[in-house]
């Protein structure tokens, strides 16, 4: 049991990182992680070595995060940054790209690299609050878009404005911090 507690303590920072990314609120993230660790300590037999400890804990954490989202849904509103129409910076008034999207090359090349995963994580972290939450709910909690609308009590129109912006921002961030750099490295070699 002492070993088990030490293992939980060791994994705590990682759980907290994902909880913060999902909730974008430090206090709620702490609560979700505490609830997760308590559940783990109360029922260690449900783990019983069935998979890796981290996999099991992340599974519990995902449920606790949805609980937190439900509990605080009224306070999960958009920020000023969320409301900034990034699409107007990327498209002109007739709806054309101001700057042509670049060819990102062989996807496997980027996906194989741990550094690329770090850049992606940093880019998700930089998303405005509501956009980050929605992106995480869709891509990390793997909720369907209609479930997200229900949990947050928002309209599909609102969801799509936010998800559209989230992905456009993420795309810009990856372009700036990974693909243009990779391009330069290729040219200079």
């Amino acid at each position: 049991m002492a070993d088990f507690s030490a293992e939980l303590e060791r994994l705590r920072p990682q759980l907290l990182k994902y909880a913060r990314l999902q909730l974008r609120n430090a206090a709620w993230a702490e609560d979700a992680v505490s609830d997760t660790l308590l559940a783990a300590i109360e029922r260690p037999q449900t783990f019983a070595g069935q998979s890796q400890l981290k996999t099991w804990l992340i599974g519990i954490l995902k449920h606790k995060l949805i609980d937190q989202i439900r509990r605080n849904s009224r306070e999960l509103s958009t920020t000023r940054e969320d409301d900034a129409p990034i699409e107007d910076e990327l498209f002109d008034s007739s709806g054309h790209w101001r700057e042509q999207p670049q060819d990102w090359g062989d996807p496997e090349h980027a996906l194989r690299q741990v550094d690329f995963m770090r850049v992606l994580e940093a880019c998700v972290e930089q998303l405005p609050g509501q956009q980050g939450r929605l992106f995480m709910m869709r891509e990390w909690l793997e909720l369907e878009t209609d479930e997200i609308c229900k949990e947050l009590a928002i309209s599909p129109t609102n969801l799509w404005v936010m998800l559209h912006r989230a992905r456009l921002r993420l795309r810009e961030c990856l372009q700036l911090n990974w693909f243009s750099g990779a391009q330069l490295a290729k040219e200079s070699s």
């Binding site: 992340i58 498209f91 709806g95 042509q100 999207p101 996807p107 891509e139 990390w140 799509w160 795309r171």
Partner: protein
């Protein structure tokens, strides 16, 4: 025209197509736009890469 979409509209449709099944009219509009536009097919590739990357990141988050 009924089936004309701007690149801005197409960028949203491409994202929606990843998450749900679009009505046939939108799917047709998307195809027509892709045949005529040089820029938007790249967005399809970029968004596909982003989706694969998110999946890999998610799996990575669950493993030691």
């Amino acid at each position: 025209m009924l089936l004309m979409r701007t690149c801005k509209e197409v960028s949203l449709l491409v994202m929606q197509a990843q998450d749900l099944r679009l009505p046939w009219r939108e799917r047709l509009a998307l195809k027509l736009h892709m045949m005529a536009c040089d820029a938007c097919p790249r967005i399809v590739d970029q968004l596909a890469l982003m989706r694969s990357a998110s999946e890999r990141w998610r799996r990575y988050s669950e493993e030691e």
